[in-house]
Amino acid sequence: MQTRLFTYNRVDTFVHRLSGFTKLLCFLILTSAVMYTYDIRVILGILVFSFTILRISRIQYRDIKLMLIYVFVFLAVNFVLTFFFSPEEGVKIYGTRHVILYLFGRYNVTSEQLLYQTTKFMKYFSVIPLGMVFLFTTNPSEFASSLNRAHVNYKVAYAVSLTLRYFPDVARAFTNISLSQQARGVDLSYKAKLSERFKNASLLLIPLIFSSLERIESVSNAMDLRGFGKYKTRTWYTSKEMDKEDYIAIAVSLLILLLTIFVSVYIDKGRFYNPFIK
């Protein structure tokens, strides 16, 4: 169905077996590594790594197709816009200018700009699969319990898990509301003007908010009536001790981060890899 965005699916793989906390930590470590470096060699390495993880966790292509398309379109638009707004960014960073193609005015394609933009594109692209792996392989309840074990207040942890859990519901309600409003004539397609689309979006949000409020009331009643918040601590039905696999995953992620920093400090002498100055 259309609302297959972000649904936890149960399969038994190495990635699924990891604790939610481990996955979050690894995700953060790897993301910092990617955000830190502008060395395309390192980034490509991480890209291969993250697609391998995606493969291992046996996520079906059709489940992520929609999200991949969105991300790809977003990145492509970003790519074009970056060029239009600052075509000389690459030249500024690398300090040389090798023009490949003369266009017009200040718009000339340089190798520097191409390298810079490709690097940036790859940066985002290598993180996306990791985010998907996290969303698709993490049991929200188990994630809450592992957050709690990492000394996050259990009420906060539970709120996070509820959000993850009710996301598909809200998405379904949103689809239905959007369809019924389109039937009344609300134009959400690219045909409408941007300002109009903005206004039209509010026609969807108001019903979504009012209908969700009721839902929130019944969930919070159900929680109160079953004693949520009684004590300062709580135990978890679905919790898992950290084991060897978890420590291995964290170690591998840390290793990648350290390697990235090592490459920057000792090889690139900075965050950028500069092939233009020999």
């Binding site: 309840s141 859990r165 389109q182 039937a183 209908s211 159900a222 004693g227 949520f228 039905y237």
Partner: protein, 586 residues
Amino acid sequence: MEKVRAFQDPIIDFENFSFKYYIQSEPTLKNINLKIYEGEKVLIVGPSGSGKTTIGHTLNGLIPFYYKGEIEGSLKIRGVETRNLSIFELSKIVGTVLQDADAQFLGLTVGEDIAFSLENDNVPQDIMKRRVRKVAEMVGVEEFLAQSPFELSGGQKQRTTVAGVLVDDVPILLFDEPLANLDPLTGKKAIEIIDEIHSNTKKTVIIIEHRIEDVLHRSVDRVVVINDGRIVGEFSPHELVSVHVLNEIGLREPLYISALKYADVEVTVDKSPGYIETLKLSERDVQHLKDWKELVSKNIERVPIKKDDVPLLKVENVNFSYDPGRPVLKNINFEVNKGEIIALVGKNGAGKSTLAKVLCGFVNVDSGNIYINGENINNRTIKERAEYIGFVMQDPNQMISKQIVYDEVSLGLHLRKLGKEEIEERVNEIAAVCGIKEFLKWPIQALSYGQKKRVTIASILVLKPSIVILDEPTAGQDFKHYSEIMNFLSYLNSLGMTFILITHDMHLMLEYAHRTIVLSSGEIIANDVPSKILTNREVIEKANLKETSLFELAERIGENPTEFVQCFIDYERNLRGKNANEIIHL
């Protein structure tokens, strides 16, 4: 029972108890005096807004913990004044099963959901798992512990919610409208589950409901009737249906009781009429019923099913699937004629909503054709389709996007860029038809549920569709509001409008539908008058419906059930036809 009580203290004791929500000017509960004893099974009935839900909230502590207000008088549970207890302490005495199982699942799996309350009590994981298993075995869901509660059948969902409460070993179980949003068969099972738990555990059971006939599928000790914040009386089920109290406060009496009354059979306590199984009919009573049936079938002209040359809507060989290889609709063929009210029924997941989406153009057919007045509308956009087929969602809150009634009703016309005068004219015309003319300048959130429903219907009708599909128009409504909504639709129908109603409500089918279409696993398995559908055991089972008590009554007196049910329908419609003038101006 009476003898035992004399020596026993009540487990629940309301004494001159009143409650007023801070946000309201009038008290919702007025001077309640009620004693409930250990091991009793008590049904609390009353129309919407009578205060029955508020009574439930005072018992489980949501009042005053969550809903604030002023309390007067005393409410003791097991001898302790409840205002001295926290909601957590109360939740160990009164276990509450809320309406709508889907909205109260907190765990991702059945096991986790049952464990929720233990988790909050810091019970260690190994003990927790053992207790969850034990309770799951008690209610019969032990095979599903690792599954998501949303994957279960309706009955299993009910069992899971009950297990989540029983895991605390509470002495009192409170069921707050357990039948709301359930299809008839699941509702019947829910009542059986409650009864089974009551007789196995000897716990005190309190059921708050307005669907009396459905609850009385199994026995209860006492029925407390509440209206306008006061207790009207306490009755045995036999007394309840013999006295006139239900009609007076706007609740529906069981169908077989209505039939008895129509046939001039006196309903008295000595006939034990509370349950159809215990009902005693004399030979004279049986004769009365037979005579009545004879009279009705002779004197009331039956309206035959309409058959136009060019039907208003024609659906031809429609197939649809979300994923290739998993068809949701298989070779759907049917016609709807102008001026018909069609009930579209079937289990959850049978394809009803998908069929509605296909008709409205929200999704495109894989193959097949849809015609309106002979014109193929397959290639029309969603927006264009809305001028042929309108769709009213179940929850009015999911449709309302403006603050003022006028803006909401005119939204579709504005978006179609019509002239100001034409818009005003059309809105005024529809508002008059829908009886919301006085409200046009009102803020929508100030309206009642029924009025909001009218606004959403008006905002669709203003586009002048040939046919309107309504998703569960009466779900969760009590008899009064149900009648209000349905009489409104029936009035619009008398003006020539055509409706398809997606529903679980068997009363709606009996009372208002000209024809019923039954979907099962994406196929139409029946398309006939309601009296035939509701007396066909095979179809009933496949659509998660149940037999009506009229069916059983007909069999008892040796009449053909289909004909008997049809007579009942004809008689009631005739009766309503006579009252039509009152109905239009509500």
